[in-house]
């Protein structure tokens, strides 16, 4: 491989995972090496967002060849740079080794983890510099916004979203267009849109990766949504524990403002819109929309009863729309490519793709985007490469603390909102934890329940005290002091919490073992 074929770009992953493994230092060393070899006119070194295959990080991609270097260290920089000399050869020792065949694979497109995916929302992740709006523009960024604002009325843009069949990617799967319509129809001139970026499920990092990799896609989606609903102010409510995403979002907002995509009279459409970043204070429950709004208002993040729904009375009592990061990031695709195109893949009721953070006892962990309806088996054993160490799979946990554990016998289930709900779990926001035979389900249940117990806002009795008692019972069982009556009490408490809790945090807390009746 030589420089005579054209310009090369080294895409160094600077998502949170790779940054923690020194990828910024790797990039710096690569830049130095490229300069010292006199390749600075033939090779660009740039930081990108998450490539998704976090387990193999730090990752360096050579574009346009598509060579994928995994587990790169600072010491490997010179070798990578030298490979780009006219006489250079790819650095084989940095190739990814397939866990099944044991073969080294040079190209990303041949790696099962990537080839099994259909990346739409994530298509620019790992390819563009998230801190440079020029790069986003060069791949068609903000074209959808121009199309919406210049060529479409708000009604037409909303109709396109309706045609796409997009459903809320935060986990509940409410039809997005319908939610927008409620807010649009709500009386009042002051309206808000909010991006819920308070991702908190254990093992979940989909939203963080998207904000770190393509923050402009989220902002573009929000502007289009605000245009549809007549909102003039937006908030991104984001975990303070995501400092890199916060920084990149702020940078992106500043650049969008400089380019006239935010502010007054956007693209001459006489539509005004502004977005602020609001950092959370570390409470999981603030991912619940009413608690989130209370937190933005400066109050303690505690959920309140609905109705009124945010679309009627939200932030400061005004009509408000809240959507998840992935939902917003899907909007530019829908406007750009059309609702029909978006709905071209997926199942009858769940259109488009699903994004999961695949973790746990699985060979290939990372960020995965697949068409709705893909089976769990394909995700875990195809893309995920199966269970390491020859162990048997026991279950797949989806939906975080609100979700459930799907036993191995349900691996052929297609992943969509209805099917997962029927099986006793939920689609959730995208956490997917693979559990092998060595993991005790009661232990796992205890972990998630103690998470909920700690993160309960403390407001309602069933959640605050019910989860506490349930955890106490599980503690006894895992100590080997369980009694047969404990099962009955767990089920009874579970029913009470589910029936009586104020919000979904409590209401879904006891659902984890539902598909495991015999345990």
């Amino acid at each position: 491989m030589g420089a005579e074929n054209g310009h090369r770009t080294l895409c160094v992953c600077e998502g949170t995972g790779c940054v923690s493994s020194k990828s910024p230092q790797i990039r710096q060393r690569l830049e130095e090496a490229v300069r010292s070899l006199g390749l600075e006119h033939a090779v660009t070194v740039k930081p990108t967002g998450c490539h998704g295959f976090c387990q193999q990080g730090p990752i360096v991609d050579v574009e346009p060849d598509g060579i994928f270097y995994s587990q790169v260290t600072v010491e490997d920089a010179e070798a990578i740079a030298a490979s780009l000399l006219p006489s250079g050869q790819p650095v084989e020792r940095l190739f990814y080794t397939d866990p099944v065949s044991g073969k080294a694979i040079p190209y990303a497109k041949d790696i099962r983890f990537y080839s099994g995916q259909q990346r739409r929302v994530l298509r620019h992740c790992g390819r563009i510099n998230p801190e440079d709006i020029e790069e986003y523009l060069s791949v068609g960024g903000y074209d959808a916004l121009k199309k919406a604002l210049v060529e479409m009325t708000p009604e037409q843009a909303l109709a396109e979203v309706r045609r796409s069949g997009l459903r809320g990617r935060g986990g509940a799967g409410f039809p997005t267009a319908q939610k927008w319509e409620f807010c649009r129809q709500a009386p009042g001139t002051e309206k808000f849109v909010i991006c819920n970026a308070d991702e908190g499920d254990p093992g979940a990092f989909m939203d963080r990766s998207i904000m770190e990799a393509v923050p402009h896609a989220v902002i573009e989606g929000m502007i289009i949504g605000a245009y549809c609903m007549g909102a003039r102010r937006g908030f991104v409510y984001i975990r303070a524990e995501y400092p890199l995403a916060v920084r990149r979002l702020r940078t992106a907002l500043r650049q969008a403002r400089e380019r006239g995509f935010l502010g007054r009279d956007i693209l001459g459409s006489s539509f005004d819109f502004e977005v602020e970043v609001m950092e959370g204070a570390g409470a999981f429950v603030c991912g619940e929309e009413t608690a989130l709004m209370a937190s933005i208002e400066g109050n303690r993040g505690m959920p309140r009863s609905r109705p009124p729904f945010p679309a009627q009375s939200g932030l400061w009592g005004k009509p408000t729309n809240i959507n998840n990061v992935k939902t917003w990031a899907s909007v530019p695709l829908i406007i750009g490519q059309g609702g029909d195109w978006f709905a071209g893949i997926g199942t009858e009721k769940s259109k488009g793709t699903a994004i999961f953070a695949l973790t746990g006892k699985v060979a290939n962990s990372g960020l995965v985007e697949v068409p709705m309806g893909t089976t769990l088996e394909e995700i875990v054993f195809g893309i995920g490469g199966g269970i390491p160490g020859g162990k048997r799979i026991k279950a797949v946990q989806t939906g975080g603390p609100s979700g459930g554990c799907l036993p191995a016998r349900l691996l052929n289930l297609p992943v969509d909102y209805e099917t997962l709900a029927q099986a006793g779990s939920i689609m959730g926001s995208g956490g997917m934890v693979v559990v092998d035979e060595d993991t005790c389900i009661v232990d796992l249940a205890k972990y998630f329940l103690s998470f909920t117990e700690k993160e309960s806002c403390g407001k309602c009795v069933p959640c605050r005290l019910g989860t506490h008692q349930m955890r106490g019972i599980l503690e006894r069982i895992t100590r080997g002091e369980g009694k047969l009556e404990d099962i009955d009490e767990l089920l009874a408490l579970g029913e009470t919490i589910k029936a009586a809790a104020l919000c979904a945090l409590g209401g879904t807390a006891p659902t984890l073992w539902r598909p495991f009746p015999t345990r």
């Binding site: 309140r304 403390g458 605050r464 005290l465 019910g466 989860t467 008692q469 009586a500």
Partner: protein
């Protein structure tokens, strides 16, 4: 105000527009157990005891947060509601002190009422072993978080009604409690000791010190200032032992300040003047009201034109009006001032 018609437990109920289902039920004399609902505070929906079944609404909504709707069909009692409420009360009791007979809120406790209604007859869950410190720093009331059920009434009244915000929910999950900024003693917080939290607390978590139950209550008006708050003085024998805000008074609708609520001891104080005194031969001696007023009138007449009046914020507007009128018209001077101006 328009009325709406709904059905609760098969009975046709008329309610005012804007009422919650709980308010409509209570107004119609139907008890639904509740701990965190309060007519003076915004709906909260925390205790979940007032859950009901409503046709067309999923699950068990809390009646304190559901607006009563025309044609609504509500059930306040069903096997599921009973079981759920019993579990909820059992959970609360597992985390609550067991000293009802020795508790200042005995017989005035909403948790007792709810527990009696749902019929909890045994201890279902292991008793909480944690002991939280009792905050005894305020001279008028005591905070005992070991009895707190976290209904939030104290926090809400402090914020929504008093506008003080001295207390809030702190911590999360099972460790949630009511506390002050930086968890300082209540006396070192923003607290103004109005005692509204004590008045609203449905259990023994916030109690007035040395509280005794009265033998009768006397409706009156607070004598401390010109606002004219309605009071219900709690009396035992001829002694005032407590003061309660009169919710029927349009002036304060039940609210009181620290003086009105806790400053009643002067009434029965031995140093309090109950008869006029006139200084005779250098010694204050009891006199009749006629003698005293005669003396005052004589002295005032001697100082016409050489007089100044200083009015008090403790007096009503009417009293202050009369004072300036008297000063100008009778004492022939415009030297009138008011303490609030200085």
């Amino acid at each position: 105000m328009s009325t709406i018609n709904l059905t609760i437990d098969g009975r046709a109920i008329e309610a005012r527009q804007g009422m919650t289902v709980l308010e409509a039920a209570l107004a119609a004399g139907i008890y639904i157990p509740n701990l965190c609902a309060d007519p003076d505070l915004r709906p909260f929906g925390a205790c979940r005891l007032c859950i009901v079944e409503v046709e067309g609404i999923r699950g068990l909504p809390a009646s304190c947060t559901v607006p009563a709707g025309d044609g609504m069909v509500v059930r306040t009692d069903s096997p599921l509601l009973e079981t759920t409420r019993r579990t909820l009360v059992s959970l609360l009791l597992a985390d609550h002190a067991d000293d009802c007979l020795a508790c200042a809120k005995n017989n005035r406790c909403s948790l007792q009422t709810a527990a009696a209604y749902v019929g909890v007859r045994e201890r279902r869950f292991p008793k909480a072993t944690r002991v939280l410190p009792v905050d005894d720093s305020n001279p008028f009331f005591t905070y005992d978080m070991n009895k707190c059920i976290l209904c939030g009434k104290c926090v809400r009244v402090c914020d929504e009604v008093q506008g003080v915000g001295a207390i809030s929910f702190v911590n999360r999950g099972y460790d949630t409690k009511i506390g002050t900024l930086m968890d300082r003693p209540i006396i070192s917080s923003l607290c103004e000791s109005c005692g509204q939290c004590e008045a609203k607390c449905p259990v023994g978590a916030i109690t007035a010190k040395n509280y005794q139950q009265p033998s009768r209550k006397v409706k009156t008006v607070c004598s401390y200032c010109g606002v004219g708050c309605g009071l219900l003085l709690h009396v035992r024998g001829s002694k005032v032992i407590a003061a309660e805000g009169d919710r029927e008074s349009p002036v304060n609708r039940g609210s009181l300040c620290v003086k009105g609520r806790f400053g009643y001891e002067y009434v029965n104080h031995r140093d309090r003047l109950t008869r006029p005194l006139i200084r005779r031969d250098g010694v204050l001696q009891e006199a009749s009201w006629d003698e005293a007023l005669e003396l005052v009138a004589t002295k005032l007449a001697e100082h016409r034109g050489k007089f100044a009046a200083l009015a008090s914020a403790k007096c009503t507007n009417e009293d202050n009006y009369v004072l300036q009128k008297f000063t100008r018209g009778v004492m022939a001077t415009n030297n009138v001032d008011h303490c609030a101006r200085i």
